[in-house]
Amino acid sequence: MSNTHDNHDASGHHEEHAHHEENFVSKYIFSMDHKMIAKQFLITGIIMGTIGMLMSLVFRLQLAYPDTKFAFFESILGHWGKDGKLDPNFYLALITIHGTIMVFYVLTAGLSGTFSNLLIPLQVGARDMASPFMNMLSYWFFFISSIVLLCSLFVEGGPASAGWTVYPPLSALPKAIPGSGAGMTLWLVAMVLFIVSALLGGINYITTVLNMRTKGMKMTRMPLTIWAFLITAVLGLLSFPVLLGGSLLLVFDRSFGTSFYLNEIVAELAGGIERTGGSPVLFQHLFWFLGHPEVYIILLPALGITSEVIATNSRKPIFGYRAMIISILAIAFLSFIVWGHHMFMTGMNPFLGSVFMLGTLIIAVPSAVKTFNYLATLWKGNIKLTPAMLFAIGLVSFFISGGLTGIYLGNAALDINLHDTYFVVAHFHLVMGSAAIFGMMSGIYHWYPKMFGTMMSKSLGYIHFWLTFISAYCVFFPMHFMGLAGVPRRYYANTAYDQFNVFIDMNQFITIAAILGGIAQLVFLFNFFYSIRNGKRSPKNPWESNTLEWTAPVEHLHGNWPGEIPHVYRWPYDYSKPGEESDFIPQNIPDESQNGDPMVEPKAPAVPHHTEAPPMQAQVKEVVMFAGLKRLFGFAG
C-alpha cells in the first residue's frame, strides 16, 4: 500500500469539504454516520451505567448498615430517604431499575449498540450501515426509551419495583405495590421503545454483515468480533419480539382488565378481583424466552471483543478460529432452549425441568471451548499488557469463575436450595455482569483511538483495571457464601432474620469494596472524557492490528475510506506468521501466491508452526495427565 500517504492527504481535504456541508445538528445530533451513532450509544450507555452504579451503591449502603441513618439520603432521595432511612419500597425500585439499566441500557445498547455500530462497517469494509437512517432511528428510540425510564423515577409511587424481570402479579396489578402503578407503565413503555430500537439496529447489523462485505471478506475471514455481533443481532431479533408479545399482554392485563397472567390464587391473594383463567408462569415463559438469549446478547459481543483484543495483544493467531465460530453458533442455538432454568422453582412441569437442565449443562461445552481457546491463544504469546488486554484477560477470569457456578445452578435439584439466593446474584454478576462490563471496557480502551483519534492514558487505565478487578471480586465472591447459607436476594434488611446476622460484617465488606469499585470508575470517567480533547494523538494503527478498521484514516470521514474500499486477502489473525518480517499482516495485504485475486486463499500456512515442543514431550504430558485421571478415578472408586 504505497499510496496510503496520498490517500491520507486526500482524506484531509475531503474532511474539510464535509465540514462545510454539515452543521452541528446533522453532525452531532441527528447524525447518520455509524461512527457518530456508535459514540452516541457509548456516551448514553456510560451515563446510564453511572446512574445504575450509583443506585447499586445506595442499596449496598442499606444492606451493610441497615440500622444506620444517612443524612444525605434525605437530601438526595427526598421522601424516599426520610430521616436518613431508605424507604423499603424504594429499595425494591432501586434494585429493579439497577437491573433494568444494567441489563438493557448499558450491556445491550451500550455494549452491542456501540461496538456493532462502530466495528461492523469498518471491519467488514462497508461505507456505512445498510440503512443509515434506520440506524439513526435505532439510536433515537433508545434515547427516548432511556428518558422514559429515567422519568419513571419521578412519578408518584416511584419507578417499577417488581424486579427487572417484572413478574406478574406484582407487575400485572397496578395496586399490588407502590411501584406497580405509573412507574410500571412507564417501564413497559420504555421497554417497548427499547425493543423497537433493538430490532431496528439488529436488522441493520445482520443485513450489513451479510450483504455489504468488501470483496474477499469471506464469512471465514471475518474477525470474531463481527461473528459475535452478527449472532448477537440474530439473537435479539428472534427473542425481543417474544418479549414484545408478552409485554403487550401485560399491558392489557394492567390496563384493560384481561387476565392472561392472573389465576385464582392471585385473585384470592389480591382480594376482591374476579380475574382468573391465566397463569403467571406463562409470563415467565415468554419473558425468559427473551431473557435467556438476552444473557448471550450481553455476553457474546464482549467475548467477540475479547477474541480480537487477546489475539492482537498476544501477537498470535486466535486459537481455534473455526471452533470459536462454531461455539458462538452453538451457544446461540442452545440459548433458545434453556430459558426454563430460570423457572425451576415456579411449579413448572418437572419434565420441562429436565429438558431445560440438559440444555443448560450442554452450554458448558461451547463455553469451555471458548475459554480454553483464549487460554491457548495466550499460551506462549508475546503478550502486551495494554489496559484493553488486561480487561480482556479479566473477562476470561470472570467468565471462568462465574461460569463454574452456573454448572451448579443449572441443576434443577440444587436450584431448590440456591434459587433466589445471593449465590445466584454472585453467579450472574460475575459471569454476565462483570465479564460483559470488562469486555466493554476492553473494547473502549482498544477502539478509543478509532472513535476519537486520541489515546487514553495508559497509567490511569492500569489503575482503573486493578481497582475494578479487585473490587469486583471482593464484591461478588463473598456473596457465594451468603447464598449457600440461604440468604435470599432482594431483601431490604437481612438482619431482620437472626440467622443472617452473622453476615453483617461480610455485607459491610462488600459495600466498602463496591464503593472502591465506584471510585475506580471515576478514574475511568476522567480518563475517557479528558482524553477526547487532551489525549495523545493516535497513530493510524496503534495496536498493530490486522483488521480493516485500522486501514481507515484516523480522521473520520463519511464513507470511512477515501478512494476505494480495501479488498481483503487473508484472515484477520496473521500475527507472528513464520517467515514474514513483520509480526502482523493486515487483511488488505495480498499474498504473493494470490496473484491479486482476493478470492484465492493464501498458500502459506495460516497458523505458525509450533516447533518448540518436541513430540516426545507432548507424549509425556499426556501420560502424566492420564495418570492423574486414573488416580482421580481410583480415589473416587
Partner: protein
C-alpha cells in the same frame, strides 16, 4: 469433475464479499429479516393462545344446532343452558362465529371467515401481479393491481370490523364474554386485533406506494423494488391469517 470445480468456485464467489450472497438488495433482505422477527411476535401471541386453551377442558360435542338451521333469538342463553357455553370450558368456535351479514338468524359457522380468507388470498394475488407487472416496468398495470390490493385490504378490514361489532354486541369484551372463559374473547380481540393492525399498516403502506407509482417515482428510479418489498409484507400478513384462521376458527 470440471463441473464441481466451477460450482465450488461459484460458491466461493457467492460468499466472498463484494456483493450480496443472496443476490437480493439490502432493502429486501431487511424486509425478510423484519418479517422473520415479526413472525416471532405473532408466534408469542399464538403460543399464549395455545397455552391458555390447553389449560381449559374442551367443550362437549354439539348435537343441537345443525348448520344452515335457524337459530333462536336467545341462542347464547340456550347454549349456556345446554352447557355448551360455560366459563369452565373452551367454547366450540362453530357456535360462536356463526353469523353472516344480512342472513340474520341462520346458523352459518365458518362461512363469513372463509369469505374473509378468500378476500385476503385474492388481495395477495393482486399484489403479486403488481410485483410481476413491476418487473416489466408496466406502470399502469402496477397501479391497477395495487389499487385492487388496497381495496382487498379495506374489504378485509371492513369484514373484521363487522365481525368484531357482532361479537361485541353479543356481549364479548376484554374482561368477559357469554361464551366461555374470559381469556377466549380477550385472546380473540388481541390476536385478530394485532393482525388487523398489521393489515391496516399494510393498507397504509400500499397506499403510499400506490401514490408513488402514480407519481412515477419508481419509473424514474428504473425499478419497482419498493412494490416487491411491501408485497413481501402483504403476503406475510396473509400468511399469518392462515394460522389465525386455523387456530381460532377451525380447531
Amino acid at each position: 469433475m470440471a463441473n464441481t470445480t466451477t460450482l465450488e468456485a461459484e460458491k466461493k464467489l457467492t460468499w466472498g464479499g463484494g456483493k450480496s450472497p443472496f443476490t437480493v438488495s439490502y432493502g429486501k433482505l431487511m424486509m425478510w429479516i423484519f418479517l422473520l422477527s415479526d413472525a416471532f411476535s405473532f408466534s408469542s401471541l399464538l403460543v399464549t393462545y395455545g397455552f391458555i386453551r390447553f389449560t381449559f377442558p374442551a367443550s362437549g360435542a354439539n348435537e343441537i344446532v345443525k348448520p344452515l338451521s335457524h337459530t333462536a333469538e336467545n341462542f347464547v342463553e340456550a347454549m349456556r343452558e345446554a352447557h355448551l357455553f360455560s366459563p369452565e370450558h373452551w367454547p366450540l368456535p362453530e357456535l360462536v362465529f356463526n353469523h353472516f351479514p344480512f342472513l340474520h338468524g341462520l346458523h352459518l359457522p365458518l362461512f363469513f371467515v372463509s369469505l374473509m380468507t378468500f378476500v385476503l388470498i385474492f388481495s395477495s394475488v393482486t399484489m403479486v401481479l403488481a410485483v410481476e407487472a413491476g418487473h416489466r416496468n408496466a406502470k399502469k398495470e402496477v397501479a391497477f393491481y395495487m389499487l385492487l390490493t388496497i381495496f382487498g385490504g379495506i374489504a378485509f378490514l371492513s369484514c373484521q370490523a363487522w365481525e368484531w361489532t357482532q361479537f361485541i354486541t353479543e356481549g364479548a369484551s376484554l374482561h368477559g364474554n357469554p361464551f366461555g372463559p374470559t381469556a377466549f374473547a380477550a385472546l380473540f380481540f388481541i390476536v385478530t386485533g394485532f393482525h388487523g393492525f398489521h393489515v391496516l399498516s399494510g393498507v397504509v403502506l400500499n397506499f403510499i406506494i400506490y401514490v408513488n407509482v402514480l407519481d412515477g417515482t419508481y419509473e424514474r428510479r428504473g425499478h419497482y423494488e419498493m412494490v416487491e418489498k411491501v408485497g413481501l409484507y402483504w403476503h406475510f400478513v396473509d400468511l399469518v391469517w392462515v394460522f389465525v384462521f386455523t387456530f381460532f376458527y377451525l380447531i
